[in-house]
């Protein structure tokens, strides 16, 4: 099996396709509102909850928070579920591992946890600003968009990967060699 095909990503991916289909049918039937897999709007709601605790008036007056509605909705619970599912699966198959600095990052930037934290934080700011501007992330645009053959999904996914490839080459250096 060493040189054979690793079927893992194909099988898990295909099952996500089944899950997306079942979810679309079930949410339409039970909720009367079709829900497609997505993630990034939940970050708007999470930010809204934090801001609400500090300055509720500001959140009330913001048209974007008003548009997305700050509440615990289907997608918010989907994200909570991802945490539970990933935790359970990684413990069950023994792949749970504490990691502060991933290997590719360490090779380029060293062991500093602080530097990794700053990179993840700043990258997160830029990525989420972009995801909200594009109106979706690799789940909403990539998976759900392409499953519906949406033109916006194809454009967004091409931009995600195109810019990602260029940025990765610049940040981590070209071909790092496959070790």
């Amino acid at each position: 099996m060493k040189r054979g095909v690793d079927w893992r990503p194909y099988v898990a991916g295909a099952l996500v396709g089944v899950l997306a289909t079942v979810s679309v049918v079930v949410t339409t039937r039970v909720l009367g509102k079709t829900q497609f897999l997505g993630a990034s709007t939940t970050f708007v709601r999470a930010a809204g909850f934090v801001e609400q605790a500090v300055d509720p008036e500001h959140v009330r007056q913001n048209p974007y928070f008003a548009k997305e509605k700050i509440r615990i909705d289907w997608q918010f619970m989907l994200i909570a579920g991802i945490f539970i599912g990933a935790l359970a699966a990684s413990i069950l198959d023994g792949s749970f591992r504490l990691e502060a600095v991933p290997p590719i990052w360490r090779e380029r930037f060293g062991d500093s946890v602080a530097l990794r934290a700053v990179g993840a934080f700043l990258g997160g700011i830029v990525a989420m600003f972009g995801a909200r501007l594009a109106d979706g992330c690799p789940s909403g645009h990539g998976l759900s968009g392409l499953m519906q053959l949406s033109v916006s999904g194809f454009i967004a996914l091409a931009c995600f990967f195109g810019a990602g490839v260029l940025m990765a080459a610049w940040v981590y250096g070209g071909k790092g060699g496959r070790r």
Binding site: V16, R97, H141, L149, V165, M167
Partner: protein, 175 residues
């Protein structure tokens, strides 16, 4: 059942599949962007392959309706590029960041905090963007079959063939 319970159950299954597909990891996401390991693409394209057939069948059987996101050229292009730039440094996407923390890769917490900050900044910028960037090239909720004037059942097999050829290519190259 409430929408919250349905979301939670779907999320648990989604999270377990993301974890078993090994796509939650920084290594896999960045390796895909360095064109060294296509695990992420194999996973996404397999999901799309099955999902596009399943969802279109559900639509034909009147069990669901499509709800594609609007195509706004300015916002999709610029937003997509910004996302890609941040993604390469962060090494997670919004959905996988939460799962990555769950499998012990706790540096993803900083990515989550960054993304919440980015969402808050976007909320502040939105009133100004609404009438400018977001209004540019707004083509509405268009789909590939609609634009091409073809049945989805012509587009789906064509796209499936492209995906399968990509899979063969990835495996041949050991990616």
């Amino acid at each position: 059942m409430s929408e919250q319970w349905l979301g939670l159950i779907t999320g648990i299954l989604f999270g377990a599949l993301l974890q078993q597909g090994r796509v939650l990891r920084f290594e896999k996401q960045v390796a895909a962007m360095r064109l060294e390991d296509m695990t992420i693409l194999k996973f996404m394209m397999s999901a799309i392959l099955v999902g596009m057939i399943g969802i279109q069948a559900a639509v034909d059987l009147k069990l669901a309706a499509l709800n594609p996101k609007a195509t706004q050229l300015g916002a999709n292009l610029l937003g997509g590029i910004l996302f890609g730039l941040g993604w390469a440094v962060m090494g997670f996407c919004p959905g996988t960041s939460v799962g990555a923390v769950a499998e012990g890769r706790w540096h993803a917490i900083f990515a989550i905090l960054g993304m919440m900050t980015g969402a808050a900044l976007y909320a502040e910028a939105y009133p100004r963007l609404e009438k400018t960037l977001l209004a540019w090239g707004n083509l509405g909720k268009i789909t590939l079959p609609g634009v091409l004037g073809l049945s989805p059942w012509v587009v789906i097999p064509a796209l499936a063939a492209v995906f399968l050829l990509c899979f063969v290519f990835f495996e041949k190259k050991g990616l």
